[in-house]
């Protein structure tokens, strides 16, 4: 044995420089890669959002032409969903899941490297389409035919890059499931697992179930365009609406892929700073599973206006409203955890509390959109934009930020600057509301989404929204600066970092050594 396993006793990285990062199989290295990549994509996607908001500052066309505006809305969504949010959650999973279940690493370390390194080339393909004849895709991230089939040379690049992103997600999800089911330390039973691990387990199931369906849908788009198939062509017996069904069969689980890990992070952060165990652990697990199950049977609520039979409308309306039940269970559990807690307001806790409040606003507007008769009015207006940005920005992104502040001292060994953290929180929270809250009013007044120009009566709210966008965007530069400072130095973090945090990750030194739990801990 000894001569074959000598490799296992290195303490640090196996190689140095770029080669280390290209070939690493270490979950902490790969987690860092994912998080840095996600941050870069967040800034690129954010820049696109600012271009959109600048154009919308006042009516008329001033900054960009309409075709480029449409490219921006499409690419902003693709970059944020597949480049910023999903990799951020996978990065957190990579860093934390092995530490939280007491595993030496991810179950399939080489595949782990592969699933990360598919991302940069895939985004190279996707972002290169901005410079191609005909420009980047401009038909919306939902890629509806026949419009999307009019994309220029970019079309196959978009399809293949999405294939690659899907492959990356599937490989990552397989790795996470296998790590959780097979790598837990002795005594770490399923019902003892931290909630972040639980929510990721369920998210990974959603990924493996949904991503291949997206791959199928975009393959049909590709063959319809280049090989004369008739999937989405009525003259051939197909149906463009069929694409919407297949796409949203992927798309709806996808939105839960973007929020369930955030639920997990919030469920870690709130108990730590309320100094109480999570209220209703079991019901949290059941609620998360119920949300995941329901996410597969609600997809057509994105398409209430396409002309579905009455029975279909009713079914998808009712199943959608059911989701409010398990989601409500989660919200009340977080509130009950806070109840009579000994609460302190460090930056991660501030973001977590803002998450609970603002995500709930997004949830309520979601309920409004679930009602068929009301949705026919709201469909494709800024109300929809306001709704999903409330669940994705102060929802999913605040979840990621809370997680980063919470675990950053464990990763870097330094405390971040608490004063600046609080500044970052207040600036983000105020500006995110300035940015998105007026969009509700715009939507209720019927301003359409994905349009670069608008009627003059929408001007004031659009101006407010754009000011909020720049405020929010610039406050994130503060975050980036703090991250760099925290990596470089700062007050030394203790092993526990916080007062009495629960979980195995707080039993290893800060910064966490390159290899942890090579011998499984007893739980």
């Amino acid at each position: 044995m000894s001569d074959t396993t000598h490799e296992e006793h290195h303490d640090g990285p196996h190689a140095s420089g770029m080669w280390r990062w290209l070939t690493t199989t270490n979950h902490k290295d790969i987690g860092t890669l994912y998080l840095v990549f996600s941050l870069i994509m967040f800034l690129i996607g954010g820049t696109m959002a600012l271009i959109i908001r600048t154009e919308l500052f006042q009516p008329g066309l001033q900054l960009v032409d309409p075709h480029f505006f449409n490219q921006m809305t499409t690419m902003h969504a693709l970059v944020m969903i597949f480049g910023a949010l999903m990799p951020a959650f996978v990065g957190l999973a990579n860093w934390q899941i092995p530490l939280m279940v007491g595993a030496p690493d991810m179950a399939l370390p080489r595949m782990n490297n592969w699933s990360f390194w598919i991302l940069p080339p895939a985004f190279l393909l996707l972002l290169s389409t901005l410079f191609m004849p005909g420009g980047a895709p401009a038909g919306g991230w939902t890629l509806y035919p026949p419009l999307i089939l009019q994309t220029g040379d970019a079309f196959p690049f978009v399809v293949f890059s999405l294939h690659m992103l899907g492959a990356s997600s599937i490989l990552g999800a397989i790795n996470i499931i296998v790590t959780i089911t097979n790598m837990r330390a002795p005594g770490m039973s399923f019902m003892k697992m931290p909630l972040f691990v639980w929510t990721w387990l369920i998210t990974a199931y959603l990924l493996i179930g949904a991503m291949p369906v997206l791959a199928g849908a975009i393959t049909m788009l590709l063959t319809d365009r280049y090989f004369d198939t008739s999937f989405f062509l009525a003259a051939g017996g197909g149906d463009p609406v069929m694409f919407q069904h297949i796409f949203w069969f992927f798309g709806h689980p996808e939105v839960y892929i973007l929020i369930l890990p955030a639920f997990g992070i919030i469920s870690q952060v709130i108990p730590t700073f309320a100094r109480k165990p999570l209220f209703g652990y079991t019901s949290m697990v059941i609620a998360t599973s119920a949300i995941a199950f329901l996410s597969y049977v609600v997809w057509a609520h994105h398409m209430f206006t396409v002309g579905m039979p009455q029975a279909g409308l009713l079914f998808f309306m009712i199943s959608t409203m059911f989701i409010a039940v398990p989601t409500g269970v989660k919200i009340f559990n977080w509130l009950a955890t806070l109840w009579r807690g000994s609460i302190s307001f460090e930056t991660p806790m501030l973001f977590a509390i803002a998450f609970v409040v603002l995500f709930t606003i997004g949830g309520f507007s979601g309920l409004m959109l679930a009602l068929v008769p009301a949705d026919i009015e709201y469909h494709d207006t800024y109300f929809v934009v306001a709704h999903f940005h409330y669940v994705l920005v102060p929802g999913a992104i605040f979840g990621v930020i809370a997680g980063v502040y919470y675990w950053l001292p464990k990763w870097t060994g330094h405390m971040y600057n608490e004063t600046l953290g609080k500044w970052h929180f207040w600036l983000s929270t105020i500006f995110v509301n300035v940015l998105f809250f007026p969009q509700h009013f715009l939507g209720l007044a019927s301003m359409p989404r994905r349009i670069p120009d608008y009627a003059v009566q929408f001007t004031e709210f659009n101006m407010i929204s754009t000011i909020g966008a720049f405020g929010f965007g610039l406050s994130q530069l503060l975050f980036v600066w703090m991250l760099i400072k925290c990596v470089k130095g700062g007050e030394k973090a203790t092993e526990k970092v916080w007062d009495e945090p629960q979980g195995l990750e707080w039993t290893v030194p800060s910064p966490a050594p390159y290899h942890t739990f090579e011998t499984a801990p007893k739980v």
Partner: protein, 292 residues
């Protein structure tokens, strides 16, 4: 025993994933260039494919060497098994998308075009005279011969023969698996070889069937929704059979080299699971694409 190895083997650095990613990138680039009518497209695509093949040999070769060196505990083996099972589940979901398209077209889209339910106005205003039928190339008679006609693929003859071939191959791979567990190397060898041959024969007959469809039935990929679903479903299945047959061939060569033991044979098992998956997909295809 394997489980006595307490530690979980973690490889320290590997060049193969990055080779895989670069190859994928080159393939995607080549494919997209090809579809944009660039002359270099095919060559770039091929280059990516060569890179991917090189990666497969390197990556899987390393895994096999590590396994022979005894680095893998029972727990590592379990990770591989679970990983393969979930990979096959993702493949199932890929086919679910295409079956979904088939069912949607047959149960909803085509009847609506024919004037059923919510399609009444669509039919009378846009496609008056079109009646619901299956198989169909749509109200516009897309593809097919000069008059827009085509003949559907029957289920007797080659498809039935192919069903028998694949079902038999599922039996032979199971016989080989049992032989492996009983350490009967000769039967293992024969069973695996037979499975490869049956898979190869299946692919040959499928090629004959495609030629028949294109030349005699005027049934092509472009023949409306029937042609689209028929060729995309059977085509992707055929691609998976090809992949499975290649994996089986490698497995057979490994058997000849004396690999796999009655207790440790993840590689063999993974391929046999994959083969059964391909088989089940075919049975669904046979029922829903050919018979019904």
């Amino acid at each position: 025993m394997a489980d006595s190895k307490a530690e979980y083997y973690i490889p320290h650095g590997s060049p193969w994933p990055i080779v895989a990613s670069v190859s994928m990138f080159v393939m995607a680039l080549g494919g997209a260039m090809w579809l944009n009518n660039s002359d270099a497209g095919r060559a770039v695509l091929l280059l990516g494919l060569v890179g991917l093949t090189f990666m497969m040999f390197g990556w899987l070769g390393t895994v096999i060497k590590e396994n022979i060196a005894g680095l893998y505990s029972g727990r590592v083996d379990r990770s591989f098994r679970q990983g393969m099972a979930w990979f096959i589940f993702s493949e199932v979901m890929f086919f679910v998308g295409f079956f979904g398209a088939l069912f949607y077209a047959r149960v909803l889209a085509v009847p609506w075009l024919g004037g059923d339910g919510i399609g009444e106005a669509t039919n009378s205003l846009l496609w008056s005279g079109f009646e619901t039928e299956w198989p169909t190339n749509g109200p516009g008679d897309i593809g097919g011969d000069a008059q827009g006609g085509f003949k559907p693929m029957g289920w007797g003859g080659l498809p039935l023969l192919n069903t028998a071939l694949l079902l038999t191959s599922s039996v032979t791979i199971t016989i080989a698996h049992h032989a492996l567990k009983n350490n009967n190397r000769r039967l293992l060898n024969i069973g695996t070889l037979l499975t490869v041959l049956l898979g190869g024969l299946f692919l040959y007959f499928q090629a004959v069937e495609y030629v028949h469809a294109y030349q005699d039935l005027d049934l092509r990929l472009s023949t409306g929704i029937y042609g689209s679903t028929f060729f995309m479903l059977t085509g992707f299945h055929g691609a998976h059979v090809t992949l499975g047959a290649i994996m089986l061939t490698v497995t057979w060569l490994r058997i000849l080299k004396g690999h796999f033991t009655p207790n440790e044979h993840f590689g063999f098992q993974a391929v046999s699971w994959y083969w059964h998956f391909v088989d089940v997909v075919w049975v669904c295809l046979f029922i829903f694409v050919y018979v019904l």
